[in-house]
């Protein structure tokens, strides 16, 4: 829903674009954009998602309860929160280096499931309608029913991967600090691997189809891309955190390498790289920094996709995030299919832990980008402090910067079209507003 106001005065033409409730995003947000003579006068991406105070009530809980609780920050990417909590707490408990390769492999498979379900949800149900001119996938299904059905089958396979390891796809129950409560059944894993292979072929086809048939808006920007950059695999759970502009830190240091700043036009917090400025996390950043680590099917697809859109990496246009998600989904489908196809139940599913006083910080790659956690524990495993930096609060400053860059392109458009163009840009980020309660903009304290 949008509204706009035009008034001519001596100061020139003023134009306001308001989107009171952003649709097809996760959580609650609004947009206010005011322009005068084609210049942005005021721009606010407003967030009215209520605060839920997770870090506050994590204090006093047992460390083993943490992954169950942090999952509830986000129903779409619970695995990201569980993985961040588990890795950080394993560091605090001093067992991080003892986690078996088999457990690490299963964690990657679990994460593949979340990437698949979340990416496909966003690509086809939330983002693609913008490119094809529909208000929703429900309307889009009338003209593109086969495509929607194919995407739902792939999304379901992603959910099934999470359910295989976690019991269910929203707030999975199988994950604990140290590993898993139980290893998946080998026969079920093999059956799912076969379905994943079918989806892999289809996803390759669909991704190339999208690259060849969609017209992508152009908004080339100078981004600082930030992602995990492991040496030997496409980023997911492990790796140093690097950027294309020289950031290169250990996992534990990341919380100190960035700062959350308050800026003049908004009381919202913006995460910036210290001494530099806004940065971008998520699929486009991961792909640009790690393309050479994609598995064979995605690696083979990448040049075809680049050729279809006429742009080689690095992509500086975040509308291509749709394709980056497509390529990452292909990668995740292949990794999950291979891992489950060769799966042998591990000797042990979790590392034994003796609680201790400690501190641990770790970030993993949520579908939307780095999700970083830090915890401090007492000797009996009780949490004494918690800090969580979700991906969308890191992208928030960049979303606003993109909107400022876009504004001159939309100033002459009719209201509805201008609002749609802004919304489309916001959806490039797959913003997860429920997660990002750190950048809330509020008016007044209520007595």
């Amino acid at each position: 829903m949008s509204a706009s106001k035009k008034d001519k005065s001596d100061n020139g033409a003023k134009r306001s674009i308001r989107v009171k409730a952003l649709a097809r995003v996760e959580g609650e947000g609004a947009l206010n954009l005011t322009m005068r003579d084609g210049q942005v006068e005021e721009l606010q991406l407003k967030i009215y998602e209520p605060p839920r105070f997770f870090e506050a009530f994590l204090r006093g809980r047992d460390y083993q309860e943490v992954p169950d609780i942090t999952a509830r920050i986000c129903g779409i990417c619970p695995v990201a929160y569980q993985m961040g909590s588990c890795h950080a707490l394993e560091k605090a408990m001093g067992v991080f280096d003892q986690v078996d390769p088999a457990i690490r492999m299963l964690r990657n498979v679990l994460y593949c499931g979340e990437w698949i379900e979340s990416h496909v949800l966003h690509m086809f149900l939330l983002h693609l309608p913008d490119f094809l001119g529909f208000e929703s996938a429900i309307s889009m299904a009338a003209d593109h029913g086969a495509l929607v059905k194919r995407s739902l089958r792939i999304k379901k396979a992603g959910n099934d991967v999470v359910a295989l390891l976690g019991g269910r796809s929203v707030h999975p129950v199988g994950i604990c600090v140290g590993g898993f409560y139980r290893a998946p059944d080998a026969a079920a894993a093999a059956a799912l691997a076969r379905e994943l292979r079918v989806c892999l072929d289809d996803m390759c086809e669909i991704t190339l189809f999208l690259a060849e048939h969609i017209t992508f808006p152009t908004l080339e920007r100078e981004y600082e891309f930030v992602s995990l950059c492991p040496d030997d695999e496409y980023p997911m759970n492990l790796g140093r955190i690097k950027s294309n502009k020289g950031l290169n830190v250990d996992q534990e240091e990341f919380g100190r390498a960035i700062e959350e700043r308050q800026v003049a036009h908004s009381s919202a917090l913006h995460a910036v790289v210290k001494g530099r400025g806004p940065y971008l996390v998520g699929p486009l950043a991961r792909l640009n920094l790690n393309a050479e680590k994609l598995l064979p099917r995605a690696a083979e697809l990448l040049p075809k996709v680049c050729k279809a859109v006429g742009k080689m990496l690095p992509w500086q246009n975040n509308y291509f995030s749709l394709l980056a998600r497509g390529l990452e989904t292909v990668h995740a489908l292949e990794l999950a299919a291979d891992s489950l196809g060769n799966y042998v139940p591990p000797v042990r599913t979790r590392v034994p832990i003796v609680p201790r006083a400690g501190i641990g910080g770790h970030g993993t790659e949520a579908p939307r980008g780095i999700c970083w956690h830090e915890y401090r524990s007492e000797a009996d495993g009780t949490i004494v402090s918690a800090r969580i930096i979700p991906p969308t609060s890191q992208n928030y400053a960049m979303i606003e910067a993109d909107l400022r860059a876009l504004a001159p392109q939309v100033v002459e458009l009719p209201d509805e079209d201008a609002a749609l163009r802004c919304e489309h840009l916001i959806r490039n980020y797959d913003p997860c507003i429920s997660c990002s309660v750190h950048f809330l903009k509020f008016s007044r304290v209520r007595a």
């Binding site: 409730a21 649709a23 009215y48 208000e135």
Partner: protein, 275 residues
Amino acid sequence: MPVQKVLESRASDKPRLAVFKFSSCDGCQLQLLNLEDELLNLVEAVEIAYFLEARRRELPPPYDIGLVEGSISTGDEEDRIQRVRRDCKYLITIGACATSGGIQALRNWANIDEFAGYVYPSPQLVSTLETATPIAAHVFVDFELRGCPVNQYQLLEVISALLAGRKPNIPTHSLCIECKRRGVPCVLVSGAQPCLGPITQTGCGALCPAGGRACYGCFGPMEQPNIASLGSWFTARLGYSPRKMKRMLRLFNGYLEPFKQASDHYERLEEGQER
């Protein structure tokens, strides 16, 4: 209002479904979109009139069925739920936040200013209520569907039942029955794990016990649970302290009776005010 009547009143078109979000994680409304095999049939059967997470188009009220996710934790939400109630003929709350206040109801036992000061650098800008409460504490609710998250097939059952004009078939017995039915070995008796299954409502499919861990109560209390009995088992046989008992009960459904009352009891024990 009888179900049949609700839906017959708009016999000429499809019943209108609306989905509303309050303080929550989005997971319960996501369960609708996670009905991959049924989704396209569902949108044939009902008109998705308002569902911000899925579509941009909004049809004006009234709505035949309103699904409400989330708890009431801000002043705006207090006002908005009244409008939502007015706009919906049949109001169904979905999930632990909407039916119990959810995990954010842990603030109800804390000092909200201290909480806000811990999380936000400028807590004076935070606009929030001191409590997070279930929808039924504010307006009349026609049906409450439990779970953190709700089971998507139970959600489909509730919608289907409304469309067919019958009572939703949602069992309210304990999770134990489900384990016995499925032949899942008891993690409490044979595994000495602190399982909340005996006092928790079924609905998840016994996921935790089947996966080798104790139930942590995400579907909330069953009908008339014997919490005292389970508590003395945990205390006597597993060596649980009142503090641990309190913590177990105060999770995703902690503010829902009788979990709330029992957790307050263990808190008093912890503080040495009893015995």
